[in-house]
């Protein structure tokens, strides 16, 4: 186990390295942070001084190595909008984003597990057709539009839930559903097809031949096996989930990392963007490793080697 973990952690290194290149190139190509930082009255001389101070007159690879060196110390530069180091600003926003992402996953799980199981066990029934239809619709709907429609109904028409902000449970409901619906649609489809496959396995027939009640056959013998691929695939969706928070947070003015990123992108606050891209990538990679570990926990056949 420890060896396996060590190996996975070592595998992160080249990926993070590549990401650092991608992030660096993105900003290098942006070219001109200087004009953004200077006021309109600045002289050419001020400009030269700033360029030299930032090291922008150096060749590209030198700039990259300095960027890498700073990055390894957690220094992504200073946000000119906040006039503070970028990384702490990004990290400060993480709890809000986690809260939203976890709530969305809970919404998705609570919807998709029972629906996926029911539509697999009652295959081709009215319910199955309805669930399949709903999950296709859930995938086809842009979630920012769903968010707007939810605001329209629950906040504007019926005035039951707040439009934006973070604080009470009420604030969490609409964003969590907005973000969770698409995931629920995907998960329901996965659980259904996984469940259908498992229900055709020999060991399910064995379980039935033992005279077990159907609830145990489905919820113990079939579900546990069906969830193995589902959990893995869903954990691999972290990247999509975080991507979804960008827009959801913007629509609902949720004070998380997503909203911060959109603001930073709009104001070209590249230090924040760099730090955020890196934090996101790191989270995604870590969650992929967690997915792998979870997979091994759920499936006793897999050994660490």
């Amino acid at each position: 186990m420890r060896q396996y973990l060590l190996k996975s952690i070592l595998q992160i290194v080249p990926v993070l390295f590549l990401i650092s290149i991608i992030v660096f190139v993105l900003v290098y190509v942006t070219g001109d942070p200087v004009s953004l930082m200077l006021s309109d009255t600045a002289t050419d001389e001020d400009r030269e001084i700033l360029i030299a101070a930032l090291g922008l007159d150096q060749p590209m690879h030198i700039q990259y190595f300095r960027f890498l060196g700073n990055m390894l110390q957690g220094d992504f530069g200073t946000s000119f909008r906040y006039d503070m180091p970028a990384l702490p600003i990004v990290l400060e926003r993480l709890p809000a984003t986690f809260e939203l992402a976890i709530a969305a996953m809970i919404v998705a799980t609570v919807i998709s597990i029972p629906l996926g199981i029911l539509s697999a066990t009652k295959r081709n029934s009215f319910l199955d057709i309805f669930v399949s239809g709903a999950s296709v619709l859930g995938k086809a709907m842009p979630h920012f539009w769903l968010g707007i429609m939810l605001i329209l109904l629950f906040a504007v028409e019926w005035k039951t839930l707040p439009v934006s902000g973070r604080g009470s449970w009420d604030h969490l409901i609409l964003p969590a559903f907005t973000l969770g619906t698409g995931i629920a649609a995907e998960m329901t489809r996965l659980i259904r097809s996984s469940m259908l496959e498992i229900l055709g396995q020999d060991y399910i027939r064995t379980a039935r031949s033992k005279g077990l009640i159907e609830t145990i056959v489905v919820y113990k013998h079939a579900l546990r096996n069906s969830l193995i691929p589902v959990v893995t695939i869903m954990a691999l969706q972290t990247s999509t989930l975080i991507g979804g928070t960008l827009i959801t947070e913007t629509i609902f003015s949720w004070p998380g990392m997503g909203q911060l990123i959109i603001q930073a992108v709009n104001t070209r606050d590249m230090a924040i963007v760099q730090a955020a891209v890196f934090v996101v990538a790191f989270l995604v990679i870590v969650s992929n490793i967690l997915a792998d570990i979870l997979y091994r926990v759920l499936d006793p056949r897999i050994k660490y080697n």
Binding site: R205, T206, S209, G211, R224, N225
Partner: protein, 320 residues
């Protein structure tokens, strides 16, 4: 006839496919006495496995039992509710399957899966179920049962897994055990051990056994009586000695002809030419006539009935 343990009468199980109805089991009748071992023999696709699943009430859609009666100790299984039938399964009526590698759930321990039977049918708690599981594992000749009970299926060999399956099937001391090709997937040496075990347990518990197989060697070793099936129907039925000594149906003769004998040295085994007919396009007359070396005009026109051709020996052939 004496009161039989199991009496199957005119069983019909059909599969409704997109291309039409497949009569996998078409009017099959046979019986099993207490403590008797009945072998059902035939090529794959002849309906022998579907027959056994029909008895268990485990035919999966699109298959459906559409006619007949199945009497087990005076109860018609086809008239029982799903719940009543479920209570019999794993209890009075149990089954072991061909594939020990895939028939156990990979994510639960042996003890968990074996204990389930006791918990379901004997209302035992976890601790009792575990104790009984260990006992059962020892019974089927698993060494180190205390340890095996906590292992996962993938940690055991095929033979061991089949022993676990047998332990599971015999856990509640069933009146009838159906063994569907129990040794086909195993090595030859393991095969012999498993057959020996089944024989021993059959004597010990006086369990009626239906042994489904395509292996006539296994039949000779194990069975008291034999039912030969072809294309969803019984074509011959006799006690094992008469069947091997005087097979009446050309199909049975063909099957026996393809069995090598130790005391002869033949270049080629007689195999039956042709293959099992397409169930959606059954030949007229006798289902076997296209492959039968002795087929006549009559065989092409009319369908022979199963008739007694000698004492307690039935065959479905005009010329038997």
């Amino acid at each position: 006839m004496e009161a039989n343990l199991l009496e199957v009468k005119h069983l019909q199980t059909h599969f409704k496919t997109e291309d039409g109805v497949v009569p996998s089991v078409n009017g099959v009748s046979f019986s099993v006495a207490k403590g008797e071992t009945l072998a059902i023999v035939g090529e794959s696709g002849c309906g022998k496995s579907v027959t056994s699943l029909s008895i268990m009430g485990l035919v999966a859609p699109p298959g459906e039992v559409v006619g007949g009666e199945i009497w087990l100790e005076g109860q018609n299984l086809l008239a029982l509710s799903k719940k009543e039938l479920r209570k019999l399964r794993g209890n009075k009526l149990s089954m072991i399957f061909q594939e020990p590698m895939t028939s156990l759930n990979p994510v639960f321990t042996i003890g968990n899966q074996l204990g389930e039977v006791f918990r379901q049918h004997r209302q035992m708690d976890k601790k009792e179920a575990r104790a009984h599981s260990v006992e059962m594992l020892e019974h089927v000749g698993i060494p180190n049962a205390e340890k095996i009970v906590d292992s996962f299926p993938h940690q055991l060999s095929g033979g061991m897994r089949q022993r676990v399956m047998i332990a599971m099937a015999l856990a509640c001391n069933p009146a009838l055990l159906i063994a569907d090709e129990p040794t086909t997937a195993l090595d030859v040496t393991i095969q012999a051990q498993i057959l020996e075990l089944l024989k021993k347990l059959n004597k010990e518990f006086q369990t009626g056994v239906i042994l489904i197989t395509h292996d006539l060697g296994v039949v000779a070793e194990m069975a008291d009586r034999v039912v030969v099936m072809y294309a969803g129907e019984v074509v011959e039925q006799a006690d094992v000695f008469s069947l091997f000594a005087e097979p009446k149906h050309p199909y049975t003769k063909g099957l026996l002809g393809s069995l090598p004998k130790l005391d002869e040295n033949r270049e080629e085994l007689d195999s039956i030419p042709g293959s099992v007919p397409n169930p959606l396009d059954m030949p007229d007359g006798c289902a076997f006539h296209p492959r039968c070396p002795a087929a006549t005009e009559e065989c092409k026109q009319n369908k022979p009935q199963l008739q007694e051709v000698a004492l307690n020996h039935l065959a479905r052939c005009f010329y038997a």
